[in-house]
């Protein structure tokens, strides 16, 4: 397996991967009261490294870049292979941003047993980065499972309420999926190498060229899908969410909801669609319906719950539903929109959790909306930032979330019109619950226990940077789109062509014509301009071509 370097960076990806854990271990050697502050400053280092990689990234090259690949367990054909491509480049950056912000938030607060706390944070960051960067199926599964452990401890030791029960519930729920995924991952490699008489190899790139048989593919697909659906989570698998999100400490829930959940949706794009294209097409409608169900159900939950934190939690379930919808539209705009939305939602949901914490601090520590109200009068800056987050969350036209949701719906319209029409209801619902939360907390009558005060340093340190990034993305959504375009096309090409070979082949020219000039009422003018300005937007029928460098290794 040779992955051509498209561009180079001053250091190997291993540096980026292990830096957070190393820093956490080093700062654990410091006096306990310094640990957090030093680590928060030091965590700018992984952020800077990630920025270096993003700056050197070649957007037009769809294959893995900055490849690090070494044999890890030769007798099992497992490799330590890391790379960045268009799918994970923005998510890697998002991870380092959110962790830096969360560490800064924690550093300005009193934490019990700080060394352990920051150790788990460092391990979590390395594990999440590892899951995004891994280019080997087993390595991915290892990091995917490993991610769980820091959060198990963060919830169980520093959480609130029924923390131990919540954390065990969370781990068992997610382990159900991820252990099945382990079996499926091993089976994928073994079956592929058995069917094609090649040596055992788990690299993404190799497995994508060794298709398994139809029936095997469907079972393996379900193994992976279950793991990812539980982790995202979407509706029938979300039982752990409310308890876990409610018990998690705020910095942990910000990164968990912001990036850990994204690993699952990233897994669909990076692993499931390219490796099991036929099965993806086969189960497309099922997944779309699951996505739809979670959009509608979570929206309904978000506007009935009275708990501010749960409003954000359920809104993130709805957003994950949109992301799943976009992914399984199996159309380039849908999948690109899904990837953009992962980035947007990661930023917005993390910011929203920090805002909720800030609001709760003004409402006598209560996160119930009944205890809030009228906070804006004495905290106009906080209210402004909250409004930015709220508008982004409800996908206000002009925000990057709007572009994301629009592209997702565009892709879904092209593949399944009826589902897209129903999903639009979710967009409407989002504005309802997001505004309800904002108005209920910030305006209305002043709540009984409310003692409002302006945004403090300890809060601004997390909320302000996130809001700035949200604003920047609103003006410059191409940041996410342009880098992902080439890789997304490559990732969905087999699945998309599998679906074209099916019943829809006759509508094909029409479908793609519609990409250039969106049809009918949804050719919304400002957005039309926005879309038209996207560089290299999809214009032709994708044909799945094997990259030249890989033909040699296929034999």
């Amino acid at each position: 397996m040779i992955l051509t370097h498209a561009s180079s960076a001053p250091f190997s990806l291993s540096v980026l991967l292990w830096l957070p854990l190393t820093l956490a271990l080093l700062s654990a050697a410091l006096p306990a009261r310094l640990t957090g502050k030093v680590l928060a400053v030091a965590s700018l280092l992984p952020l800077a490294v990630a920025v270096t990689f993003v700056a050197n990234f070649n957007s037009s090259y769809p294959f893995p870049q900055f490849v690090t690949s070494q044999a890890w367990i030769p007798s099992l054909g497992i490799r330590y292979a890391l790379a960045i491509n268009g799918l994970n480049v923005s998510l890697v950056l998002l991870t380092t941003v959110l962790f830096t912000v969360s560490l800064a938030w924690s550093a300005l607060r009193e934490i019990d047993r700080p060394r352990l706390y920051y150790f788990w944070f460092g391990l979590a960051e390395s594990a999440v980065l590892g899951a995004f960067l891994a280019q080997d199926l087993i390595l991915f599964v290892a990091f995917f499972d490993l991610m769980l452990i820091p959060f198990y401890f963060l919830v169980g030791s520093w959480g609130s309420g029924e923390r131990v029960r919540a954390t065990i519930k969370m781990v068992i729920y997610t382990a159900v999926g991820s252990f099945l995924m382990l079996a499926a991952a091993v089976a994928t490699g073994v079956i592929a190498s058995g069917d094609h008489h090649t040596p055992l190899d788990f690299s993404f790139g190799v497995l994508q060229h060794l298709p398994v048989s139809r029936t095997d593919g469907e079972w393996l697909f379900l193994g992976f899908t279950l793991a990812f659906l539980v982790k995202m989570p979407v509706v029938p698998f979300h039982g752990w969410l409310a308890d876990a999100y409610k018990s998690m400490p705020i910095p942990a829930v910000a990164v968990f909801s912001g990036v850990v959940a994204k690993v699952a949706s990233y897994g669909f794009l990076a692993i499931v669609l390219p490796t099991f294209p036929q099965a993806s097409h086969h189960f497309q409608v099922l997944l779309l319906i699951i996505a739809l169900a979670s959009i509608l159900w979570a929206t309904a939950m978000a506007f009935t719950t009275r708990d501010a934190r749960l409003v954000i939690a359920y809104s993130s379930v709805a957003q994950m539903g949109f992301i799943l919808l976009g992914i399984f539209s199996l159309r380039a705009p849908g999948d690109q929109g899904a990837l953009l939305q992962m980035l947007n939602h990661g930023l917005v949901t993390a910011a929203a959790f920090f805002v909720v914490a800030a609001v709760a601090a003004r409402a006598g520590g209560s996160e119930r909306m009944d205890d809030m109200g009228g906070i804006a009068f004495r905290a106009p800056l906080l209210a402004t930032l909250f409004l930015v987050v709220t508008f982004a969350n409800l996908a206000m036209p002009g925000s990057s979330n709007f572009i994301g949701e629009f592209m997702i719906l565009l892709g879904t319209f092209q593949s399944h019109l009826a589902i897209a029409v129903i999903a639009t209801l979710g967009v409407v619902g989002a504005s309802f619950y997001a505004l309800r939360l904002f108005i209920g907390a910030m305006h209305n009558r002043v709540g009984g226990r409310v003692q409002s005060f302006e945004l403090g340093r300890a809060e601004a340190i997390a909320i302000v940077p996130l809001c700035l990034i949200i604003l920047v993305l609103a003006f410059y959504p191409q940041f996410g789109l342009s880098r992902s375009q080439a890789s997304v096309k490559l990732a969905i090409a087999p699945a998309a062509s599998a679906s074209f070979r099916g019943s829809e082949s006759r509508t094909l020219p029409l479908t793609y014509a519609s990409l250039d000039a969106p049809l009918g009422w949804w050719s919304y003018a400002p957005l039309g301009a926005g879309l038209a300005s996207l560089p290299g937007k999809p214009r032709r029928i994708y044909t799945y071509t094997t990259p030249p460098s890989q033909q040699g290794s296929k034999q």
């Binding site: 367990i73 030769p74 007798s75 099992l76 497992i78 352990l116 087993i138 599964v141 290892a142 990091f143 499972d145 490993l146 769980l148 452990i149 198990y152 401890f153 169980g156 030791s157 923390r163 131990v164 954390t167 065990i168 781990v171 068992i172 382990a175 159900v176 252990f179 099945l180 382990l182 079996a183 091993v186 089976a187 073994v190 079956i191 058995g194």
Partner: protein, 553 residues
């Protein structure tokens, strides 16, 4: 008198004419060393000086075990050989299992340095029995003949029956010994009956002969020959008793709980390793020709074991019982590697045996410490261990996460390797059972971790203690309870009757872990992590385990 002398000389003349088998001393050296060590230890144990008994005896035992390990490593480089007229076979499979058992014995000696069991039973006897048991394991895992197999099994078991009851002033220990004796004897009887039937069916006692007889069997093999079928079924049951495979596992939690903890650690790791190794040799070599017929049955047994063990562990409050059930489940994982009947499966199983050794010994070291501190092994007593003794808390955490198969530990790699072997051998459904078992297991392993880190330590005084669910006598002033670490039997007995947890509060903070416990816990936790990240050396260690069983795919 004269008659006797005549008979004697006749015997001597006859003896001179019998050509005994060639004894390959080099290959036998580990067994010889252990046997010599056992005898010396027994004699030194008779010394009058308390110092000699308490210090020199364990040191001699360590020397004997280390010597045996040295010779085992030395033999590793040699080609496999069948020695003593086909009775034993020294190959990679045997040597790996030998080494695993020796490491477990070494840990058991260290864990029992300050324990009560050797004082009660007498240091010489205790260590000699341990060494004899180890010798039985060495014979068992290299047995190449039905007779040697049974000999090894009994040599392994009988000292263990005694060792389980070593703390003979404690009711639980006696009960464990008796239970193990009765159930173990049933297992042995079943096994010997099975061996006899197999001999009857094939006319051979050597494994090679049996394999040849089965390969050329005219009457339709296993299913066509009720004698053979019954024989193999009984052998499965006999082995299943030893390896604590469900549904023959019921003795495991009881015996594990009652036996002195160092002995529990030894049984849990070494006995299991030896039983699994002999399982492999018998099924994947002697009767491998009938693989298609026995594999589904063993697969069902493995599946049942995984589920029963994991579900059984869920509700346990005692750590030793929990590890007992977890051991049942882990035996099920190891059996899956046997089922597929491939070289890959054998290697995967032996990898898991090595992993299981590392994962368990660390946990048992912590339990020994916990028992010395609090007088019981209840999970609730672990509360606050994370603050009291971080190294032990980390060791236990790592052990539990590894047993659950979390990445970054050797348990993860072991499971990946087993799943690989299963999918490769066409037993994909068993791989699913394995991961389902692993999921269930998180339910109890994580409870232990939660008890260590997430439950605050109980405060001082009776109120806090009764909150932890102490017995009816909670709050009884037991100021002089400290001897539990130094060990007066009466105090221990009192702790038993007082419903365990009563007098912990005052003692907790004062006791630092004993250095040897810290050593065992830290070493095995470190190995669990190191080999979980860099598993290459372990893979090389077990690489040829499968290749030595000729006739395997």
């Amino acid at each position: 008198m004269i008659k006797n002398a005549h008979a004697m000389s006749a015997l001597l003349i006859a003896a001179a004419h019998i050509r005994g088998p060639h004894i390959a001393w080099a290959e036998l050296s580990p067994i010889v060393l252990i046997a010599a060590g056992a005898l010396i230890v027994l004699l030194v144990g008779l010394a009058g000086s308390q110092m000699v008994r308490a210090r020199v005896v364990p040191a001699l035992a360590v020397v004997a075990i280390a010597g045996a390990m040295g010779t085992e490593i030395w033999r590793f480089t040699y080609a496999p050989q069948t020695i003593v007229a086909g009775a034993l076979r020294i190959d990679d499979l045997a040597l790996i299992a030998d080494l695993v058992c020796a490491v477990a014995a070494l840990a058991a000696v260290l864990l029992s340095l300050r324990a009560r069991a050797p004082r009660d039973a007498g240091h010489g006897e205790f260590h000699a029995l341990l060494l004899f048991s180890l010798m039985g394991m060495a014979v068992l895992v290299s047995a190449q003949d039905l007779i040697t197999l049974f000999l090894g099994l009994e040599l392994l078991s009988i000292p263990l029956y005694v060792l389980c009851a070593a703390e003979y002033r404690r009711e639980g220990s006696l009960e464990a010994g008796l239970k193990y004796l009765i159930i173990g004897s049933v297992g042995s009887a079943t096994l010997v009956y099975g061996l006899a039937l197999i001999y009857g069916a094939t006319g051979q006692t050597g494994f090679g002969g049996i394999a040849r007889a089965l390969a050329t069997h005219a009457s339709g093999g296993l299913l066509g020959d009720p004698l053979l079928l019954t024989g193999i079924a009984l052998v499965v049951v006999g082995f299943a008793f030893k390896a604590s495979v469900a549904p023959f596992h019921q003795w495991t939690p009881d015996v594990y709980e009652g036996a002195p903890t160092p002995i529990t650690a030894f049984m849990a790791t070494a006995t299991k390793a030896a039983a699994i190794a002999v399982f492999l040799r018998f099924f994947d070599f002697a009767v491998t020709a009938e693989h298609v017929n026995w594999a589904p049955a063993v697969a069902a047994l493995a599946a049942v074991t995984i589920i029963v063990g994991n579900v059984g562990a869920l509700g346990q409050g005692s750590l030793k019982r929990l590890l007992g059930y977890s051991g049942v489940a882990q035996a099920g994982y190891m059996l899956t590697g046997l089922v597929v009947g491939t070289q890959l499966g054998v290697s995967a199983t032996m990898f898991y045996v090595v992993a299981y050794l590392m994962m368990n010994l660390g946990a048992f070291a912590v339990i020994v410490h916990q028992e010395r501190v609090s007088g019981s092994d209840r999970m609730a007593d672990l509360a606050g261990l994370g603050r009291r003794s971080p190294p032990l808390a980390w060791s236990l955490t790592i052990a539990m996460l590894a047993l659950a198969g979390i990445p970054g530990t050797i348990g993860f790699i072991g499971k990946v390797q087993l799943i690989h072997a299963l999918v490769n051998g066409g037993y994909g459904w068993l791989a699913i059972v394995l991961v389902v078992g692993a999921m269930i297991s998180l339910g109890y392993y994580l409870r232990v971790v939660a008890a260590v880190w997430m439950t605050p330590a109980e405060g001082h005084g009776a109120a806090a203690v009764s909150g932890a669910g102490a017995g009816p006598l909670a709050g009884t002033p037991l100021g002089g309870f400290a001897p539990i670490a130094g060990g007066s039997p009466e105090a221990d007995a009192q702790a038993e009757t007082d419903g365990a947890g009563a007098a912990r509060a005052g003692v907790l903070e004062r006791l630092d872990p004993d250095p040897e416990l810290l050593l065992v816990a830290a070493v095995f936790a470190a190995l669990t992590i190191v080999f979980g990240v860099v598993p290459g050396p372990v893979f090389q260690f077990v690489a040829h385990a499968g290749a030595v069983l000729v006739g395997l795919r």
